[in-house]
Protein backbone atom coordinates (compact mmCIF):
# COMPACT_ATOMS: atom_id res chain seq x y z
CA UNK A 1 0.00 0.00 0.00
CA UNK A 2 1.44 3.38 -0.94
CA UNK A 3 1.35 5.89 1.80
CA UNK A 4 -0.02 9.38 1.24
CA UNK A 5 3.27 10.96 2.18
CA UNK A 6 6.59 9.20 2.38
CA UNK A 7 9.67 11.10 3.46
CA UNK A 8 13.05 9.39 3.13
CA UNK A 9 16.40 10.65 4.41
CA UNK A 10 15.31 14.27 4.13
CA UNK A 11 18.12 16.72 4.92
CA UNK A 12 18.49 20.44 4.93
CA UNK A 13 21.84 22.09 5.50
CA UNK A 14 21.75 25.87 5.75
CA UNK A 15 24.80 27.85 4.70
CA UNK A 16 26.93 24.75 4.26
CA UNK A 17 27.27 23.90 7.93
CA UNK A 18 23.98 24.22 9.84
CA UNK A 19 22.41 20.78 9.72
CA UNK A 20 18.85 21.82 10.55
CA UNK A 21 17.31 18.58 9.30
CA UNK A 22 19.61 15.60 9.17
CA UNK A 23 18.23 12.51 7.51
CA UNK A 24 14.60 12.39 8.55
CA UNK A 25 12.34 9.56 7.38
CA UNK A 26 8.69 8.98 8.15
CA UNK A 27 5.44 8.25 6.39
CA UNK A 28 1.88 9.36 6.76
CA UNK A 29 -1.25 7.45 5.74
CA UNK A 30 -4.63 8.72 4.59
CA UNK A 31 -6.68 10.37 7.36
CA UNK A 32 -3.81 9.92 9.76
CA UNK A 33 -2.44 12.55 12.14
CA UNK A 34 1.28 12.42 12.76
CA UNK A 35 2.53 14.78 15.43
CA UNK A 36 6.07 16.04 15.06
CA UNK A 37 7.32 17.22 18.45
CA UNK A 38 10.50 18.64 19.85
CA UNK A 39 11.87 21.77 21.44
CA UNK A 40 12.42 24.94 19.45
CA UNK A 41 15.36 24.71 17.08
CA UNK A 42 15.12 20.95 16.61
CA UNK A 43 14.22 21.34 12.93
CA UNK A 44 10.55 20.47 13.04
CA UNK A 45 9.48 23.72 11.39
CA UNK A 46 12.12 23.23 8.71
CA UNK A 47 10.62 19.80 8.00
CA UNK A 48 7.24 21.46 7.47
CA UNK A 49 8.76 24.08 5.18
CA UNK A 50 10.53 21.35 3.21
CA UNK A 51 7.33 19.40 2.71
CA UNK A 52 5.54 22.57 1.59
CA UNK A 53 8.58 23.21 -0.62
CA UNK A 54 9.07 26.70 0.77
CA UNK A 55 12.68 25.64 1.26
CA UNK A 56 14.56 23.37 -1.11
CA UNK A 57 15.88 20.19 0.49
CA UNK A 58 19.61 19.48 0.41
CA UNK A 59 19.03 15.76 0.06
CA UNK A 60 16.31 13.19 0.40
CA UNK A 61 13.04 12.17 -1.16
CA UNK A 62 9.53 13.47 -0.48
CA UNK A 63 6.96 11.21 -2.08
CA UNK A 64 3.39 12.41 -2.21
CA UNK A 65 1.13 9.65 -3.52
CA UNK A 66 4.21 8.04 -5.00
CA UNK A 67 5.47 11.17 -6.81
CA UNK A 68 8.81 12.55 -5.72
CA UNK A 69 8.26 16.26 -5.16
CA UNK A 70 11.60 17.04 -3.52
CA UNK A 71 13.15 18.30 -6.73
CA UNK A 72 10.06 19.30 -8.69
CA UNK A 73 9.98 22.77 -10.21
CA UNK A 74 7.52 25.25 -8.70
CA UNK A 75 5.50 25.06 -11.90
CA UNK A 76 5.20 21.29 -11.73
CA UNK A 77 4.38 21.53 -8.05
CA UNK A 78 1.27 23.59 -8.62
CA UNK A 79 -0.95 20.56 -9.21
CA UNK A 80 0.34 18.85 -6.04
CA UNK A 81 -0.14 22.01 -4.01
CA UNK A 82 -3.89 21.60 -4.39
CA UNK A 83 -3.61 18.48 -2.28
CA UNK A 84 -1.16 19.78 0.31
CA UNK A 85 -2.31 22.78 2.29
CA UNK A 86 -1.10 24.32 5.52
CA UNK A 87 -1.96 26.21 8.67
CA UNK A 88 0.77 28.47 9.98
CA UNK A 89 1.60 29.30 13.56
CA UNK A 90 1.15 33.06 13.54
CA UNK A 91 -2.47 33.97 12.79
CA UNK A 92 -1.41 37.60 12.44
CA UNK A 93 1.30 37.45 9.83
CA UNK A 94 -0.19 34.56 7.87
CA UNK A 95 -3.13 36.63 6.59
CA UNK A 96 -2.40 39.47 4.17
CA UNK A 97 -3.51 42.67 5.96
CA UNK A 98 -4.54 44.21 2.64
CA UNK A 99 -7.03 41.48 1.71
CA UNK A 100 -10.57 41.09 2.98
CA UNK A 101 -11.61 37.94 4.81
CA UNK A 102 -13.57 36.84 1.74
CA UNK A 103 -10.58 37.21 -0.56
CA UNK A 104 -8.35 35.42 1.94
CA UNK A 105 -10.47 32.30 2.29
CA UNK A 106 -11.13 32.02 -1.43
CA UNK A 107 -7.54 32.77 -2.47
CA UNK A 108 -6.53 29.12 -3.00
CA UNK A 109 -9.65 28.60 -5.12
CA UNK A 110 -8.90 31.63 -7.29
CA UNK A 111 -5.28 30.59 -7.73
CA UNK A 112 -6.37 27.21 -9.03
CA UNK A 113 -9.15 28.72 -11.14
CA UNK A 114 -11.97 27.13 -9.19
CA UNK A 115 -14.03 30.25 -8.59
CA UNK A 116 -14.86 32.63 -11.38
CA UNK A 117 -16.28 36.10 -11.04
CA UNK A 118 -16.87 38.30 -8.02
CA UNK A 119 -20.33 36.94 -7.37
CA UNK A 120 -19.34 33.29 -7.18
CA UNK A 121 -16.34 34.15 -5.07
CA UNK A 122 -18.48 36.03 -2.62
CA UNK A 123 -20.97 33.22 -2.27
CA UNK A 124 -18.21 30.68 -1.80
CA UNK A 125 -16.54 32.89 0.77
CA UNK A 126 -19.79 33.18 2.75
CA UNK A 127 -20.25 29.42 2.74
CA UNK A 128 -16.67 28.89 3.88
CA UNK A 129 -16.91 31.44 6.68
CA UNK A 130 -20.07 29.82 8.01
CA UNK A 131 -18.34 26.44 8.03
CA UNK A 132 -15.99 27.61 10.80
CA UNK A 133 -18.63 29.45 12.76
CA UNK A 134 -17.97 32.94 11.42
CA UNK A 135 -20.76 35.07 10.09
CA UNK A 136 -21.27 35.60 6.37
CA UNK A 137 -21.26 39.33 6.94
CA UNK A 138 -17.58 39.15 7.88
CA UNK A 139 -16.77 38.74 4.18
CA UNK A 140 -15.69 42.35 3.72
CA UNK A 141 -13.84 42.67 7.02
CA UNK A 142 -10.11 43.18 7.21
CA UNK A 143 -7.92 40.69 9.10
CA UNK A 144 -7.12 43.20 11.82
CA UNK A 145 -10.80 43.35 12.73
CA UNK A 146 -10.67 39.72 13.87
CA UNK A 147 -9.36 38.19 17.09
CA UNK A 148 -6.47 35.73 17.10
CA UNK A 149 -8.78 32.72 17.30
CA UNK A 150 -11.00 34.02 14.52
CA UNK A 151 -7.96 34.69 12.36
CA UNK A 152 -6.75 31.15 12.87
CA UNK A 153 -10.18 29.89 11.87
CA UNK A 154 -9.83 31.90 8.65
CA UNK A 155 -6.45 30.23 8.17
CA UNK A 156 -7.97 26.79 8.72
CA UNK A 157 -10.86 27.25 6.34
CA UNK A 158 -8.47 28.65 3.75
CA UNK A 159 -6.45 25.45 4.12
CA UNK A 160 -9.55 23.30 3.61
CA UNK A 161 -10.98 25.34 0.73
CA UNK A 162 -9.38 23.16 -1.95
CA UNK A 163 -10.27 19.90 -0.21
CA UNK A 164 -6.63 18.86 0.27
CA UNK A 165 -5.49 15.33 1.17
CA UNK A 166 -2.83 16.58 3.58
CA UNK A 167 -2.58 19.62 5.80
CA UNK A 168 0.73 20.61 7.34
CA UNK A 169 -0.12 22.43 10.55
CA UNK A 170 2.91 24.18 12.02
CA UNK A 171 2.08 24.92 15.66
CA UNK A 172 -1.42 26.06 14.70
CA UNK A 173 -2.54 26.80 18.25
CA UNK A 174 0.59 27.76 20.12
CA UNK A 175 0.16 31.48 19.38
CA UNK A 176 -3.40 31.43 20.68
CA UNK A 177 -4.80 32.09 24.14
CA UNK A 178 -5.37 28.94 26.11
CA UNK A 179 -9.09 29.75 26.19
CA UNK A 180 -9.48 29.54 22.41
CA UNK A 181 -6.93 26.78 21.86
CA UNK A 182 -9.28 23.88 22.47
CA UNK A 183 -11.90 25.50 20.29
CA UNK A 184 -9.49 25.69 17.35
CA UNK A 185 -8.27 22.13 18.01
CA UNK A 186 -11.85 20.94 17.91
CA UNK A 187 -12.42 22.69 14.60
CA UNK A 188 -9.32 20.96 13.24
CA UNK A 189 -10.59 17.59 14.42
CA UNK A 190 -14.12 18.12 13.12
CA UNK A 191 -12.83 19.20 9.73
CA UNK A 192 -10.57 16.16 9.57
CA UNK A 193 -13.46 13.85 10.38
CA UNK A 194 -15.65 15.49 7.77
CA UNK A 195 -13.11 15.76 4.96
CA UNK A 196 -10.82 12.82 5.70
CA UNK A 197 -7.66 14.90 5.57
CA UNK A 198 -4.33 13.75 6.95
CA UNK A 199 -2.44 16.06 9.28
CA UNK A 200 1.23 16.56 9.81
CA UNK A 201 0.83 18.33 13.11
CA UNK A 202 3.88 20.15 14.39
CA UNK A 203 3.85 21.06 18.04
CA UNK A 204 5.83 21.35 21.21
CA UNK A 205 2.78 20.99 23.41
CA UNK A 206 2.39 17.40 24.60
CA UNK A 207 -1.15 17.94 25.88
CA UNK A 208 -2.31 19.01 22.42
CA UNK A 209 -0.44 16.13 20.82
CA UNK A 210 -2.02 13.59 23.14
CA UNK A 211 -5.40 14.95 22.15
CA UNK A 212 -5.04 15.03 18.38
CA UNK A 213 -2.33 12.63 17.22
CA UNK A 214 -2.48 9.05 15.94
CA UNK A 215 1.28 8.68 15.92
CA UNK A 216 4.06 10.75 17.43
CA UNK A 217 7.52 11.52 16.07
CA UNK A 218 10.04 13.14 18.40
CA UNK A 219 12.78 15.26 16.84
CA UNK A 220 16.04 16.17 18.48
CA UNK A 221 18.74 18.21 16.74
CA UNK A 222 17.49 17.51 13.23
CA UNK A 223 16.81 13.78 13.63
CA UNK A 224 13.80 11.72 14.59
CA UNK A 225 14.74 9.90 17.80
CA UNK A 226 11.44 8.16 18.44
CA UNK A 227 8.46 7.34 16.26
CA UNK A 228 5.54 5.47 17.78
CA UNK A 229 1.76 5.10 17.91
CA UNK A 230 0.27 7.51 20.42
CA UNK A 231 -0.80 5.00 23.06
CA UNK A 232 2.51 3.21 23.05
CA UNK A 233 4.41 6.51 23.07
CA UNK A 234 2.60 8.02 26.01
CA UNK A 235 2.56 4.85 28.08
CA UNK A 236 6.05 3.59 27.32
CA UNK A 237 8.40 6.08 25.69
CA UNK A 238 11.68 4.36 24.79
CA UNK A 239 13.98 7.30 24.24
CA UNK A 240 15.29 9.16 27.31
CA UNK A 241 14.60 12.45 25.54
CA UNK A 242 10.95 11.54 24.98
CA UNK A 243 10.70 10.50 28.57
CA UNK A 244 12.11 13.82 29.69
CA UNK A 245 9.63 15.66 27.47
CA UNK A 246 6.74 13.66 28.87
CA UNK A 247 7.86 14.09 32.44
CA UNK A 248 7.50 17.85 31.95
CA UNK A 249 3.78 17.55 31.21
CA UNK A 250 1.66 18.41 34.26
CA UNK A 251 -0.25 15.30 35.35
CA UNK A 252 -4.03 15.21 35.41
CA UNK A 253 -3.99 13.43 38.75
CA UNK A 254 -1.48 13.87 41.59
CA UNK A 255 -1.00 10.12 41.94
CA UNK A 256 -0.27 9.74 38.27
CA UNK A 257 2.59 12.17 38.54
CA UNK A 258 5.68 11.04 36.72
CA UNK A 259 9.12 11.30 38.14
CA UNK A 260 10.54 14.52 36.73
CA UNK A 261 13.61 14.16 34.53
CA UNK A 262 15.47 17.44 34.31
CA UNK A 263 17.71 17.88 31.31
CA UNK A 264 20.81 19.93 31.90
CA UNK A 265 21.85 22.72 29.55
CA UNK A 266 20.72 23.61 26.06
CA UNK A 267 20.69 21.41 23.01
CA UNK A 268 24.05 21.52 21.18
CA UNK A 269 24.35 23.75 18.14
CA UNK A 270 23.30 22.18 14.82
CA UNK A 271 26.58 23.53 13.45
CA UNK A 272 28.59 21.17 15.68
CA UNK A 273 26.55 18.05 16.21
CA UNK A 274 28.17 15.86 18.86
CA UNK A 275 29.66 12.55 17.67
CA UNK A 276 27.92 9.32 18.58
CA UNK A 277 24.38 9.71 19.88
CA UNK A 278 23.50 13.37 19.46
CA UNK A 279 21.64 13.35 22.75
CA UNK A 280 24.52 12.03 24.87
CA UNK A 281 25.58 15.49 26.11
CA UNK A 282 22.32 15.82 28.03
CA UNK A 283 21.28 12.22 28.50
CA UNK A 284 20.91 11.08 32.12
CA UNK A 285 21.94 7.51 31.25
CA UNK A 286 24.68 8.14 28.69
CA UNK A 287 27.47 5.55 28.54
CA UNK A 288 30.74 5.27 26.64
CA UNK A 289 29.05 3.57 23.72
CA UNK A 290 26.78 6.59 23.31
CA UNK A 291 29.75 8.88 22.81
CA UNK A 292 31.17 6.58 20.12
CA UNK A 293 28.33 5.14 18.14
CA UNK A 294 25.23 6.77 16.77
CA UNK A 295 22.21 4.53 17.47
CA UNK A 296 19.98 3.77 14.48
CA UNK A 297 16.24 4.33 14.57
CA UNK A 298 15.22 0.73 15.14
CA UNK A 299 12.07 -1.14 16.00
CA UNK A 300 11.82 -1.76 19.74
CA UNK A 301 8.18 -2.79 19.97
CA UNK A 302 5.16 -3.05 17.66
CA UNK A 303 5.49 -0.14 15.20
CA UNK A 304 7.52 1.58 17.86
CA UNK A 305 10.88 2.93 16.68
CA UNK A 306 13.53 4.52 18.88
CA UNK A 307 17.11 5.61 18.34
CA UNK A 308 18.76 4.72 21.64
CA UNK A 309 21.32 2.05 22.60
CA UNK A 310 19.28 1.45 25.74
CA UNK A 311 15.79 1.55 24.26
CA UNK A 312 15.07 -1.77 25.99
CA UNK A 313 16.08 -0.41 29.36
CA UNK A 314 13.03 1.63 30.15
CA UNK A 315 11.59 3.38 32.01
CA UNK A 316 14.59 5.45 32.83
CA UNK A 317 12.86 7.58 35.42
CA UNK A 318 12.40 4.69 37.82
CA UNK A 319 16.08 3.89 37.70
CA UNK A 320 17.47 7.37 38.02
CA UNK A 321 16.92 7.68 41.74
CA UNK A 322 18.85 4.51 42.35
CA UNK A 323 21.84 6.06 40.58
CA UNK A 324 22.38 2.81 38.87
CA UNK A 325 23.91 2.28 35.50
CA UNK A 326 21.85 0.21 33.11
CA UNK A 327 23.33 -2.99 31.82
CA UNK A 328 23.16 -2.43 28.10
CA UNK A 329 24.53 -5.76 26.89
CA UNK A 330 22.16 -7.93 28.81
CA UNK A 331 19.20 -5.80 27.86
CA UNK A 332 20.14 -5.58 24.21
CA UNK A 333 20.65 -9.29 23.77
CA UNK A 334 16.96 -10.14 24.16
Amino acid sequence: MTKLLEVTDLSKIFGGSVRAVDGVSFSLGERETLALVGESGCGKSTVSRLILRLTDPTAGVIRFEGQDMARMSQRALKAIRRDIQFVFQDPFSSLDPRMTAGDIVTEPLSIHGMVKGARQRRETAETLLRAVGLSAKHVDNWPRQFSGGQRQRLGIIRAFALGPRLIVADEPVSALDVSVRSQVINILQDMQEEKGTAYLFISHDMATVKHIADRVAVMYLGKIVELAPKASFFSAPRHPYSEALLSAVPASHPQKRRKRILLQGDPPSPIRIPPGCRFHTRCPIAQDVCRREEPALAQVADNHLAACHFAQAWPIASRLGEAMAPEPLAELSN
Binding site: R49, L52, R53, L54, Q74, R75, L77, K78, R81, R82, I84, Q85, F86, F88, Q89, D90, S93, S94, L95, D96, P97, R98, E107, P108, I111, H112, W142, R158
Partner: protein, 270 residues
Protein backbone atom coordinates in the same frame (compact mmCIF):
# COMPACT_ATOMS: atom_id res chain seq x y z
CA UNK B 1 -5.50 72.58 12.28
CA UNK B 2 -2.78 74.56 10.52
CA UNK B 3 -1.75 71.36 8.74
CA UNK B 4 -5.25 70.98 7.48
CA UNK B 5 -5.38 74.55 6.14
CA UNK B 6 -2.08 74.04 4.35
CA UNK B 7 -3.30 70.75 2.92
CA UNK B 8 -6.44 72.42 1.56
CA UNK B 9 -4.35 75.24 0.10
CA UNK B 10 -1.97 72.74 -1.50
CA UNK B 11 -4.78 70.65 -2.96
CA UNK B 12 -6.48 73.83 -4.17
CA UNK B 13 -3.30 75.02 -5.83
CA UNK B 14 -2.68 71.68 -7.52
CA UNK B 15 -6.27 71.53 -8.77
CA UNK B 16 -5.85 74.99 -10.24
CA UNK B 17 -2.61 73.87 -11.81
CA UNK B 18 -4.28 70.85 -13.35
CA UNK B 19 -6.95 73.09 -14.89
CA UNK B 20 -4.28 75.42 -16.24
CA UNK B 21 -2.34 72.55 -17.76
CA UNK B 22 -5.38 71.03 -19.44
CA UNK B 23 -7.22 74.16 -20.54
CA UNK B 24 -4.20 76.47 -20.94
CA UNK B 25 -5.09 77.48 -24.50
CA UNK B 26 -8.36 79.02 -23.40
CA UNK B 27 -6.96 80.76 -20.34
CA UNK B 28 -3.82 82.38 -21.69
CA UNK B 29 -4.61 86.07 -22.30
CA UNK B 30 -1.81 86.42 -24.87
CA UNK B 31 0.15 84.20 -27.19
CA UNK B 32 3.10 83.13 -25.00
CA UNK B 33 5.47 83.34 -27.98
CA UNK B 34 4.26 86.65 -29.37
CA UNK B 35 6.93 89.35 -29.12
CA UNK B 36 6.00 92.98 -28.75
CA UNK B 37 8.94 95.38 -28.73
CA UNK B 38 6.73 98.29 -27.76
CA UNK B 39 5.96 96.57 -24.45
CA UNK B 40 9.36 95.40 -23.21
CA UNK B 41 10.04 94.88 -19.50
CA UNK B 42 6.69 96.24 -18.42
CA UNK B 43 5.44 95.93 -14.83
CA UNK B 44 2.05 94.36 -14.00
CA UNK B 45 -0.90 96.05 -15.64
CA UNK B 46 -4.47 95.29 -16.64
CA UNK B 47 -3.25 94.03 -20.00
CA UNK B 48 -0.14 92.17 -18.79
CA UNK B 49 -1.08 90.79 -15.34
CA UNK B 50 2.43 89.79 -14.38
CA UNK B 51 4.28 92.18 -16.67
CA UNK B 52 6.36 91.34 -19.76
CA UNK B 53 9.87 90.11 -20.43
CA UNK B 54 12.56 91.78 -22.51
CA UNK B 55 11.00 90.52 -25.74
CA UNK B 56 7.70 92.00 -24.66
CA UNK B 57 6.12 88.59 -24.15
CA UNK B 58 3.34 88.23 -21.56
CA UNK B 59 4.87 86.62 -18.44
CA UNK B 60 1.54 85.28 -17.18
CA UNK B 61 0.84 83.47 -20.47
CA UNK B 62 4.38 82.15 -20.57
CA UNK B 63 4.14 80.75 -17.04
CA UNK B 64 0.82 79.09 -17.89
CA UNK B 65 2.31 77.59 -21.04
CA UNK B 66 5.49 76.64 -19.17
CA UNK B 67 3.41 74.77 -16.57
CA UNK B 68 2.42 72.27 -19.25
CA UNK B 69 5.97 71.27 -19.94
CA UNK B 70 7.12 71.38 -16.36
CA UNK B 71 4.17 69.39 -15.09
CA UNK B 72 4.33 66.83 -17.89
CA UNK B 73 7.97 66.16 -17.14
CA UNK B 74 7.40 66.55 -13.39
CA UNK B 75 4.72 63.85 -13.37
CA UNK B 76 5.89 61.59 -16.17
CA UNK B 77 9.49 61.19 -15.01
CA UNK B 78 8.73 60.02 -11.44
CA UNK B 79 6.03 57.70 -12.77
CA UNK B 80 8.37 56.13 -15.31
CA UNK B 81 11.08 55.92 -12.64
CA UNK B 82 8.57 54.39 -10.21
CA UNK B 83 7.47 51.67 -12.62
CA UNK B 84 11.02 50.67 -13.54
CA UNK B 85 12.51 51.16 -10.07
CA UNK B 86 9.75 49.31 -8.20
CA UNK B 87 9.83 46.43 -10.67
CA UNK B 88 13.58 46.06 -10.22
CA UNK B 89 13.57 46.63 -6.46
CA UNK B 90 10.79 44.18 -5.63
CA UNK B 91 12.16 41.50 -7.96
CA UNK B 92 15.59 41.89 -6.39
CA UNK B 93 14.13 41.49 -2.90
CA UNK B 94 11.82 38.65 -3.88
CA UNK B 95 14.16 36.48 -5.91
CA UNK B 96 17.47 37.33 -4.25
CA UNK B 97 20.56 35.63 -5.65
CA UNK B 98 22.83 37.07 -8.32
CA UNK B 99 20.13 39.29 -9.82
CA UNK B 100 19.77 41.04 -6.49
CA UNK B 101 23.52 41.48 -6.15
CA UNK B 102 23.81 43.05 -9.59
CA UNK B 103 20.84 45.35 -9.04
CA UNK B 104 21.97 46.55 -5.62
CA UNK B 105 25.55 47.15 -6.77
CA UNK B 106 24.32 49.10 -9.81
CA UNK B 107 22.03 51.10 -7.52
CA UNK B 108 24.87 51.89 -5.15
CA UNK B 109 26.92 53.05 -8.07
CA UNK B 110 24.15 55.29 -9.40
CA UNK B 111 23.42 56.62 -5.92
CA UNK B 112 26.99 57.82 -5.64
CA UNK B 113 26.20 60.39 -8.33
CA UNK B 114 24.17 63.44 -7.48
CA UNK B 115 20.81 63.22 -9.33
CA UNK B 116 21.59 66.52 -11.01
CA UNK B 117 24.95 65.23 -12.19
CA UNK B 118 23.32 62.05 -13.45
CA UNK B 119 20.75 64.17 -15.29
CA UNK B 120 23.47 66.34 -16.85
CA UNK B 121 25.32 63.20 -17.87
CA UNK B 122 22.31 61.67 -19.63
CA UNK B 123 21.36 64.91 -21.39
CA UNK B 124 24.95 65.44 -22.44
CA UNK B 125 24.94 61.93 -23.93
CA UNK B 126 21.55 62.15 -25.63
CA UNK B 127 21.43 65.86 -26.37
CA UNK B 128 18.96 68.40 -25.01
CA UNK B 129 15.23 68.14 -25.64
CA UNK B 130 12.05 67.38 -23.79
CA UNK B 131 12.02 63.61 -24.28
CA UNK B 132 15.69 63.31 -23.33
CA UNK B 133 15.06 65.53 -20.34
CA UNK B 134 12.32 63.17 -19.13
CA UNK B 135 14.59 60.19 -19.65
CA UNK B 136 17.39 61.93 -17.77
CA UNK B 137 15.19 62.79 -14.81
CA UNK B 138 13.64 59.30 -14.65
CA UNK B 139 17.10 57.83 -14.78
CA UNK B 140 18.20 60.03 -11.91
CA UNK B 141 15.20 58.94 -9.78
CA UNK B 142 15.29 55.20 -10.51
CA UNK B 143 17.96 54.31 -7.89
CA UNK B 144 15.94 55.82 -5.06
CA UNK B 145 12.87 53.84 -6.12
CA UNK B 146 14.91 50.64 -6.35
CA UNK B 147 16.37 51.16 -2.93
CA UNK B 148 13.12 52.01 -1.17
CA UNK B 149 11.06 49.31 -2.84
CA UNK B 150 13.73 46.68 -2.22
CA UNK B 151 14.02 47.55 1.46
CA UNK B 152 10.25 47.50 1.95
CA UNK B 153 9.83 44.32 -0.09
CA UNK B 154 12.55 42.54 1.90
CA UNK B 155 10.51 43.10 5.07
CA UNK B 156 7.29 41.92 3.43
CA UNK B 157 9.03 38.87 1.93
CA UNK B 158 9.53 37.59 5.50
CA UNK B 159 5.81 37.71 6.28
CA UNK B 160 4.05 34.37 6.54
CA UNK B 161 1.36 35.45 4.08
CA UNK B 162 3.94 35.51 1.29
CA UNK B 163 4.97 31.93 2.17
CA UNK B 164 1.27 31.11 2.32
CA UNK B 165 0.74 32.41 -1.21
CA UNK B 166 3.66 30.34 -2.49
CA UNK B 167 2.46 27.22 -0.69
CA UNK B 168 -1.01 27.75 -2.22
CA UNK B 169 0.63 27.59 -5.64
CA UNK B 170 0.60 31.25 -6.63
CA UNK B 171 3.27 31.99 -9.25
CA UNK B 172 6.04 34.45 -8.31
CA UNK B 173 4.95 37.41 -10.44
CA UNK B 174 1.42 37.05 -9.13
CA UNK B 175 2.64 36.87 -5.51
CA UNK B 176 4.59 40.08 -6.06
CA UNK B 177 1.59 41.83 -7.62
CA UNK B 178 -1.06 40.61 -5.19
CA UNK B 179 0.81 40.42 -1.88
CA UNK B 180 4.10 42.30 -1.98
CA UNK B 181 3.12 45.45 -3.89
CA UNK B 182 -0.07 46.27 -1.96
CA UNK B 183 1.83 45.99 1.29
CA UNK B 184 4.62 48.33 0.27
CA UNK B 185 2.40 50.79 -1.62
CA UNK B 186 2.04 53.21 1.32
CA UNK B 187 5.62 54.51 1.49
CA UNK B 188 6.00 54.31 -2.29
CA UNK B 189 2.98 56.51 -3.00
CA UNK B 190 4.24 59.06 -0.51
CA UNK B 191 7.72 59.08 -1.94
CA UNK B 192 6.40 59.38 -5.49
CA UNK B 193 4.58 62.60 -4.61
CA UNK B 194 7.70 63.93 -2.94
CA UNK B 195 9.74 63.11 -6.01
CA UNK B 196 7.29 64.90 -8.26
CA UNK B 197 8.56 68.00 -6.47
CA UNK B 198 12.15 66.91 -7.00
CA UNK B 199 11.53 66.21 -10.68
CA UNK B 200 10.02 69.66 -11.25
CA UNK B 201 12.99 71.19 -9.51
CA UNK B 202 15.39 69.05 -11.55
CA UNK B 203 13.64 70.03 -14.77
CA UNK B 204 13.94 73.69 -13.78
CA UNK B 205 17.60 73.27 -12.92
CA UNK B 206 18.48 71.45 -16.13
CA UNK B 207 16.53 73.98 -18.17
CA UNK B 208 18.20 76.73 -16.22
CA UNK B 209 21.63 75.54 -17.26
CA UNK B 210 20.38 75.19 -20.82
CA UNK B 211 19.99 71.41 -21.02
CA UNK B 212 16.19 71.33 -20.96
CA UNK B 213 13.47 72.92 -23.03
CA UNK B 214 14.96 75.02 -25.76
CA UNK B 215 13.76 78.56 -26.44
CA UNK B 216 11.43 79.94 -27.54
CA UNK B 217 9.28 77.18 -25.95
CA UNK B 218 8.75 78.27 -22.35
CA UNK B 219 9.31 76.04 -19.35
CA UNK B 220 9.51 77.30 -15.79
CA UNK B 221 13.19 76.54 -15.74
CA UNK B 222 14.13 78.47 -18.83
CA UNK B 223 11.85 81.39 -17.92
CA UNK B 224 13.89 81.70 -14.75
CA UNK B 225 17.09 81.32 -16.74
CA UNK B 226 16.44 84.07 -19.25
CA UNK B 227 14.76 86.15 -16.56
CA UNK B 228 17.93 86.05 -14.52
CA UNK B 229 20.03 87.08 -17.53
CA UNK B 230 17.80 90.11 -17.89
CA UNK B 231 17.17 90.65 -14.20
CA UNK B 232 18.05 94.34 -14.34
CA UNK B 233 15.65 94.88 -17.23
CA UNK B 234 12.77 93.31 -15.35
CA UNK B 235 12.99 90.93 -12.37
CA UNK B 236 9.38 89.83 -12.80
CA UNK B 237 9.72 86.81 -15.17
CA UNK B 238 12.33 85.12 -13.00
CA UNK B 239 10.45 86.01 -9.83
CA UNK B 240 7.06 84.70 -10.90
CA UNK B 241 8.39 81.56 -12.59
CA UNK B 242 10.46 80.86 -9.47
CA UNK B 243 7.37 81.39 -7.35
CA UNK B 244 5.40 78.95 -9.51
CA UNK B 245 8.11 76.31 -9.02
CA UNK B 246 8.28 76.91 -5.28
CA UNK B 247 4.53 76.74 -4.77
CA UNK B 248 4.19 73.58 -6.85
CA UNK B 249 7.02 71.74 -5.11
CA UNK B 250 5.71 72.87 -1.74
CA UNK B 251 2.18 71.70 -2.58
CA UNK B 252 3.39 68.27 -3.63
CA UNK B 253 5.45 67.97 -0.45
CA UNK B 254 2.48 68.93 1.72
CA UNK B 255 0.34 66.41 -0.16
CA UNK B 256 3.01 63.75 0.34
CA UNK B 257 3.16 64.38 4.08
CA UNK B 258 -0.61 64.16 4.34
CA UNK B 259 -0.65 60.91 2.37
CA UNK B 260 2.01 59.46 4.63
CA UNK B 261 -0.14 60.14 7.68
CA UNK B 262 -3.21 58.75 5.95
CA UNK B 263 -1.55 55.58 4.65
CA UNK B 264 0.14 54.66 7.91
CA UNK B 265 -1.34 51.21 8.56
CA UNK B 266 -1.54 51.82 12.29
CA UNK B 267 -3.68 54.88 11.83
CA UNK B 268 -5.44 53.71 8.69
CA UNK B 269 -9.19 54.08 8.55
CA UNK B 270 -10.54 52.01 5.74
Amino acid sequence: MLDRIFLYLAVGFLTLLAIVVVFGDFIQPHDPLLQNFLARDKGPSAEYWLGTDDFGRDVFSRILEGSRLSMTIGLASPLIAAVIGIAMGTSAAYFGGWAERIITRATDMMMSFDPLLLGVLVVALLGPGILNLSIAISFALIPSFIRLSRASALAVRQEAYVDAAIAMGRPSYSTILRHVLPNISGPLVVVTTLWVGTAIRLEATLSFIGLGAQPPAPSWGNIVRYGVQNIFGSPLPALFAGLAITLTVLSFNILGDALRDRLDPDKAVR
